[in-house]
């Protein structure tokens, strides 16, 4: 491990930590340190062990060997409570909110203010929670139930919860994966404020450009080992990527050839739903990659869900490959060779307790086995094929999906939809939580699909991603399409201006 | 239109015996102008539901309540409430342990304890040539009054006859299926069985099914209880040796007739004996004919 000059004595020190799961060495002699008031960024490929390391630091897992020193004293956390008491707070990669409780109850869960007699002090609870939420400019009400909030707002509640601990160390495991530009900026402001107060932050992200905005130092993990720590000011992006992936990554626009064909894959005209969507008309041609940009809550996911028949439309025309889809349902769409990769893999994308290979054939069941009898050999071959193509890191596709790291789970969802060999695919946040290397592969893959004449609709909060692969971009705001960019010669700023409502179309 | 309205509360709403009693009571009521509404606990023999049914009957201000208590002691507070509201109470099949005997207008039936004693004694008599009687009892439900009373009677008979050895007894829950399974096990376990006393006809037939399937028919005698049509038929077919005719239909019509008489101002005896005869192959046809009628 390389030495970087340290101005301050490390506050948290991790030494030679190992953690093994059955068949996987998730952490292999990891050492790592964190100084006071520092933002230390942790990057690495999917499955590199980032989340595992953080779970060890926050008491969810116990390391098999190795030590953790806090303020020079050795600590051992048996559970999350111990870590909380040591003033370490964490925002997990996967949400950990209780849906039927209010935002305030979630924020202070386990630490509710009580009066002297042990009776809950609801007023104080709500007021304290609201104060934190307001400091984040969220517009979320503390008394709302969490189940009524969207993904992004839930992420913000997680942030508020972490802040409420008033901790000395704050761990954020991919906090921006579901956020869009506005919220990200708020988050960064918050991070700067905390830093000024002397809070140390460990920040995990796959979006490398973020590293330069907020990071002080950066550590790269690979295969459960630390491969280097750098000062951000001294590390170039290319170097980081090389450390992470072990090869160069092309960061330019990958779509050069125009593969767009004449015939329509998807056509939507005048689509409304009862709540959000208003008069939406879009189309996707075969061989074309169309992006949809927009802020969180703008209705992109709703649009995709309505097209796919998960939510009901109140009126509007939808056609696949020129044939009208009168009442859409997922089953019908799959039969008509259309697929939809949902944004929330844990809830909508995967059967966590079933094997990887079973998950991969789920959407293509009737296509692969038209006679209704499953052939295990075929199932295995397909799964192995996608494991190689998408580089899903696992010792065996018989394993349950729950054992995979977040990014690898995402790849399984992707594989599931690729296996249907659909001619039209909607990707909702296809690279959420996916590392740069894999992301590039996914981009190539999407490009390849388009080359083969498939129509693709990509919804993404990651604007650079859209700019990299989309032929055409729609911008949504408040349930409407507010702008269509006919080609990819746009800048992020232009898109944001439309998405945020600065420009009237 | 019916002259009087009566609520009839039996031990459950499901098993065959109580259905015979209820339908006879309703039929008798129709004949003599008494409207009988049955309100027995739904599935289980449930003392608390009987209590509630009594309370509901009181609220309905019926003219009389007839009850076969699941729990002879437990029903007493409810009976007192009925009396307080001025509603006369009749018992049938099973007595209630009221403090003053005159609280109950009349009891219609013979009682399970006596029945148990009689049938056991009869069966022991049939085996008079044996020096030792290996006995199996298939119980009903040991938490219920009916079983406890019948067992008490059988035990009294056993105490008087020192040839009897009680090999085993298990709960058949008054169900044919359970009795069949239990008997299958007993047949494996015991090579010599002389007598099987089942606490109702259904279980006796179940025991017979097991015995005949094992090819051990004729090795042992079986007795039932209740005198239900299936039981009587089984006696006639020689599947079981005897059953105790409780004359449940007789209890049903008897109690309703007593109600009518009482409400009409006639005097009613404090114990109307109905049933209690041991049905044997000789007299079973007679009883069956009476039932069919």
């Amino acid at each position: 491990m390389e030495n970087t000059e340290k101005a301050v004595e490390p506050f948290l020190k991790v030494q030679n930590v190992c953690k093994e799961f059955p068949g996987v060495k998730a952490l292999d002699n990891v050492s790592f340190d964190l100084c006071k008031g520092e933002v230390h960024v942790l990057i690495g490929e999917n499955g590199a062990g980032k989340s595992t390391l953080m779970k060890v630091l926050s008491g969810v897992y116990q390391q098999d060997s190795g030590e953790i020193y806090l303020n020079g004293k050795k600590v051992e956390f048996q559970n999350t409570r111990d870590a909380q008491l040591a003033r370490i707070a964490i925002i997990f990669q996967e949400f950990n909110l209780v849906p039927n409780l209010t935002v305030a109850q979630n924020i202070f869960l386990g630490r509710e203010p009580v009066s002297s007699r042990g009776v809950l002090d609801r007023k104080k609870l709500n007021a304290d929670a609201q104060a934190i939420l307001d400091s984040l400019n969220t517009g979320i009400s503390a008394t709302d139930k969490v189940e009524l909030l969207g993904v992004a707002h839930q992420q913000l509640v997680e942030l508020a919860k972490a802040l409420s601990f008033d901790s000395e160390i704050l761990i954020m495991d991919e906090p921006t994966a579901t956020l869009s530009e506005n919220e990200i900026n708020t988050l960064f402001d918050t991070i700067f404020r905390l830093k000024a107060r002397g809070v140390s932050i460990i920040y995990i992200s796959h979006r490398l450009h973020e590293v330069y905005k907020i990071g002080d130092r950066i550590t790269v993990l690979r295969d459960g080992q630390t491969v280097g720590t750098r000062l951000v000011s001294e590390a170039s992006m290319d170097e980081l990527i090389r450390l992470m992936v072990g090869r160069e990554i092309q960061r330019e626009r990958i779509r050069e050839e125009n593969t767009v064909q004449e015939s329509m894959a998807l056509e939507v005209r005048g689509l409304w739903d009862r709540k959000l969507l208003q008069d939406i008309s879009i189309n996707v041609r075969r061989g074309e990659i169309v992006g949809i940009a927009g802020l969180v809550g703008s209705g992109r996911t709703e649009l995709a869900q309505t097209i796919f028949g998960i939510k009901r439309r109140s009126k509007g025309y939808i056609a696949l490959f020129g044939r009208e889809l009168e009442k859409s349902s997922p089953g019908k769409c799959v039969m008509r060779k259309a697929g939809f990769l949902p944004e929330n893999r844990k809830e909508q994308g995967l059967s966590l307790n079933l094997p990887i290979r079973t998950n991969i054939v789920h959407a293509a069941l009737s296509m692969l086995f038209p006679m209704g009898i499953v052939r295990r050999k075929k199932e295995k071959d397909i799964a192995e094929n996608y494991r190689k193509r998408l580089r899903i890191i696992t010792p065996d596709t018989k394993r349950n999906v729950s054992n995979l790291s977040g990014g690898n789970q995402q790849k399984v969802v992707l594989a599931k939809w690729l296996a249907t060999e659909s001619d039209f695919l909607i990707f909702d946040e296809p690279t959420r939580g996916v590392d740069v290397g894999a992301k590039e592969e996914i981009h190539f893959l999407i490009d390849d699909l388009a080359r083969n004449g498939k129509g693709i609709l990509v919804i993404s909060s990651d604007l650079p991603e859209l700019l990299t692969i989309a032929d055409r971009i729609y911008v949504m705001r408040e349930g409407r399409i507010v702008k269509e960019f006919k080609d990819s010669h746009v800048t992020q700023e232009e898109i944001i201006a439309f998405a945020a409502g600065g420009v009237v179309a | 239109a019916a002259e009087y309205e009566v609520t009839l509360i039996l031990k459950d709403n499901t098993s065959a015996g109580w259905r015979y009693l209820a339908s006879a009571a309703i039929a008798a009521g129709e004949k003599i102008g008494v409207k009988v509404t049955e309100n027995s606990p739904l599935e289980t023999q449930n003392a608390d539901e009987q209590y509630n049914a009594m309370l509901d009957a009181i609220e309905k201000q019926v003219d009389a309540i007839c009850i076969a208590p699941v729990d002879s002691a437990g029903i007493v507070p409810a009976i007192e409430k009925a009396l307080e509201a001025g509603i006369p109470v009749f018992t049938t099949n099973t007595r209630a342990f009221v403090k003053n005997p005159e609280d109950i207008v009349t009891f219609v039936g013979v009682g399970n304890e006596k029945g148990g004693y009689d049938i056991a004694q009869y069966m022991f008599g049939k085996l008079s040539d044996l020096e030792k009687i290996n006995l199996i009892i298939i119980d009903g439900n040991r938490t219920g009054q009916t079983t406890l009373d019948r067992i008490a009677g059988i035990e009294a008979a056993i105490a008087e006859d020192d040839r009897v050895v009680l090999l085993d007894s298990q709960e058949g829950k008054f169900s044919r299926a359970n009795a069949q399974e239990i008997m299958e096990s007993f047949l494996v376990k015991y090579s010599e069985i002389d007598l099987v006393i089942a606490l109702n006809d259904e279980m006796a037939i179940g025991a017979y099914n097991a015995i005949s399937a094992a090819g051990r028919e004729g090795e042992m005698l079986i007795s039932g209880f209740d005198g239900a049509p299936e039981g009587l038929q089984a006696v006639l077919d020689g599947q079981i040796s005897a059953t105790l005719n409780q004359d449940l239909p007789g209890q049903g019509s008897g109690v309703i007739e007593a109600v009518k008489a009482y409400l009409d101002g006639e005097s009613v005896e404090s114990w109307i004996k109905v049933g209690g005869d041991v049905c044997t192959p000789e007299n079973a046809a007679e009883f069956l004919a009476k039932l069919k009628k």
């Binding site: 386990g110 | 608390d48 509901d56 938490t143």
Partner: protein, 348 residues
Amino acid sequence: MNSQSLRSRRETLAHYYHKVPATVFLLFGMILFFSLLSDKYFTVSNIMNVIVQCSSGVGIVALASYLAICSTGVDLSLGGIVSLSGMITAKILTWDIPLFSQIRNNNPVFLLLIAVTAAIAAGAAIGSMNGLILARTKIPSFIVTLGMYKICETFSRVIAGGTTIRINGLPLFEFIGNGSLLNVQIGRRSIGLLPISMIIMLLLYIFFSFVMKKTRFGTYVYAIGGNNESAALSGINTVLTRYRVFLYGGMIAAFTGIIFTSRLTSASAQNGLGLEFDGIAAAVVGGAAMSGGRSTPGRTLIGALIISVMKNGFNMIGMSNSIQMIAIGCVLIAVVSVDTLRNRRRFV
């Protein structure tokens, strides 16, 4: 009146309409329905009758069922606990050993206290066992509590020793299940307006409403029901919370056991068995979701009342029992589907 305040008033009304559970309307609808069919239905005495039937039967058990369901479990042992605790009460009150005979003769009130305490302790013990196993292992609550139900039944049978235990000459004890305060004379009968069992039931419900709403424990039960893993990661002691849920459930059910024995002035091992399903039905009718984290004690009480009102009403109009069974099944399904559909409309 200006239009704005009118509108806001309409909004508050709508707000309250949504806050009132559908079951309340249903309850009143049923009472109206039965009143139309039977003139003896809507009388003071029958209303008290229904309340007594509820409080000495499904009412209290429903509260325990609700607690278990709210924490994503079911408690099938409740019927067994009712039987066992009732049996223990009876046994202590009638036990023929010198110590107890002496106490009975000298200070019956003290003996009563011992009996009641022992019954609740028994409920607590069984509840603890449930709680310990459930908190410490991953065995589903259906199985654990089913097993415990059978264990309770066995102990109850063994204590009974093959008979029913009768209690005589303890008027104070009989008063718990049969007595009431504030009696009024209507015709020949005196109707109690404050039955003791009702008071016990209401106190329990008020206490647990408070607990669920105003204490950390309550919040944690909802949290476990909403998402057990998140609750654990938030540092909540889920083991202890789950344990307490079943502990309290056992103690609550023991009250029903005491009331049962007092009401019948006797205890049979059969008493109370099967009540657990009524309890679950009542809790679910009240709005509890089997997936946990929903409903409140108040709603559960409404659910229990609906069940009692239904049974009594069918009896009052003289409906036959088989048809009653069918009707109760239909009403269960109907009520809960109206409730779920209504909620879905609001959320989806």
